[in-house]
């Protein structure tokens, strides 16, 4: 027991300020809070504003209130629905792959074996590779239809080589992103599984559970909190997947790999239509907020205080 200066039992949630006067204390915190506040409010307010006006980054002449015009154009943009669908598919697929494999691997690694620490480092490594490198390594050395590793392996097995980015562009992106994020899911789940009491395993064995039953009835419920965290955090970051698409397909062929993030980029910085891009941005913010709502509740419950 090693916390709280005044005896916690006798001091309710009152601030006990000793020699330091309050104004100085608030000043310590102010810069960070103020800066973050501005960072939140100003750009967001601007995005909201731009979504309701006409603005073109190349053509300063174009101005004026646009009402819901931008939103309507967005809705009617031929890339819009594909972008939404692609975003959903991308996020869902990556979540499933990373969580399922992450869980299985966490269980697999939760035992002693030769060189365990090194093997763990290898599994975690992809997370520290920058997205542009991951994307290009996969697109070229792994997925190239002739010289890529996958092609070489499949032809050796007598199967036809797959031209990943031509025939399965979205799947290719999904593979790349899953590879990047699997270590994250693994690390979180692995950390959580280590806290599963050894005694529980023994009690289950006495109760007659075989490993598979143990996994489903005990391990999974122990991991459920960590899985929830992984899902929420990944979702927030996956909404903004951009670099991998930018470096490999530029959203194509057609709109096959355009997600919401890339769509906003394309509309804003390629077509220079800031208004409609802002409308798209707002949509992304709304979606993220829905997930964030649940995440914030979880965080608030967990916050450790002195």
């Amino acid at each position: 027991m090693s916390t709280a200066p005044p005896p916690a039992a006798t001091v309710p949630a009152a601030a006990e300020v000793e020699a330091k006067p309050s104004p100085v204390l608030a000043l310590l915190q102010l810069p960070s809070v103020a800066v973050l506040f501005l960072w939140m409010i100003v750009p967001l307010a601007m995005t909201i504003y731009f979504s309701f006006v006409r603005k073109n980054l190349l053509n300063p002449e174009l101005t004026g209130f646009a009402g819901l015009e931008n939103y309507r154009f967005l809705w009617e943009d031929p890339a819009f629905w594909p972008a939404i669908v692609n975003s959903i598919i991308l996020i869902a697929a990556v979540l499933i792959i990373t969580v399922v494999l992450g869980t299985l691997f966490a269980v697999l690694f939760d035992r002693d074996f030769f060189g365990k620490n090194i093997a763990t480092l290898l599994v975690i490594a992809p997370f520290f590779v920058m997205p542009t490198v991951s994307a290009l390594i996969w697109k070229n050395m792994m997925m190239h239809p002739v010289y890529g590793l996958l092609a070489v392996v499949t032809t050796k097995l007598g199967l036809p080589a797959i031209d990943w980015f031509s025939t399965h562009p979205l799947l290719s992106i999904i593979i790349i992103v899953s590879w990047e994020w699997l270590p994250f899911a693994f690390l979180i789940l692995f950390t959580s599984i280590k806290s599963l009491d050894q005694e529980q395993k023994e009690a289950a064995a006495v109760d007659g559970a075989n490993p598979v039953q143990f996994f489903f009835y005990v391990t999974l419920s122990h991991l459920s909190r960590a899985i929830g965290v992984v899902v929420m955090i990944e979702t927030i970051f996956l909404l903004s997947i951009f670099a991998e698409i930018y470096t490999t397909t530029s959203g194509g062929p057609g709109t096959a790999t355009t997600n919401l993030a890339f769509l906003v980029y394309a509309l804003g910085l390629q077509q220079f239509d800031a208004g409609i891009a802002s409308a798209g941005g707002i949509l992304a913010v709304v979606l993220a907020n829905i997930v964030a709502f649940f995440m914030v509740r979880l965080m608030a419950k967990n916050l450790q205080t002195r």
Binding site: A15, R111, T191, F242, A288
Partner: protein, 271 residues
Amino acid sequence: MEETKLSKWLFGILAWLVAIIIFFPIFIMMITAFKNEREAQSLSLIFLPTLESFFEVFARSNYLKYVWNSMLASIGSTLLCFLLAIPAAYRMAFYPTKKTQSTLVWMLSTKMMPAVGVLIPIYILAQTFGVLDNIVGLIIIYALINLPIAVWMSYTYFCEIPGAILEAARIDGATIWGELWHVLRPMTVPGLASTALLLIILSWNEAFWSLNLTSVNAAPLPVFIASYSSPEGLFWAKLSAASFLAVAPIMVLGWMTQKQLVRGLTFGAVK
């Protein structure tokens, strides 16, 4: 009930298989970096290592400039971040108020805003203030997006210091500065250092703002590597060499900061 030696062995092999498969693309990149362009296409594991491709990368591009930009952006933003974060975390940990908890949660929630939601205004603001393609722009943005993590992590490390130790220092004659310097600093430096490493890694690898706000002058490594997406001629070896240099040090740092990663990126939701 005890696992048989055979099944233990089998699972060990399986785990290693998984590790090797997952690491394989990185491995390919690493060996291809040491090949010349002709050999690079073949993916063979047997080859004569050469530094030819590294030299080519340096010859054909100002690689060091990109490294410098990456370093400026990562280290600069991390320093700026800590400058803001540590006083705030100190205040929240040692002089908490009823609002402290919600402030912390709010700060963390700012990380949940999707970057793409503010791409347009940030681009316009960067343009207006003349920091488009300027490393200062990246430093500021990285400091902002990492600030919540810095505050949160510092806060948790400060919370772990038992109040009684600071009081003992007070009785031993330390002023408030003495407490900070003689007691708080040595006890929190390890945690704060690994937090700094984590932030440097996150900034180094950042590939949304860097791609959108820089092009030639302030481009950090992720942007430079992205230029290999429209290459001329054979490029696998050069791509690998450039990537190897950009990735290897970060991977090593990342291996050292695993614990901080879990603590920082899950905002404490997983212990």
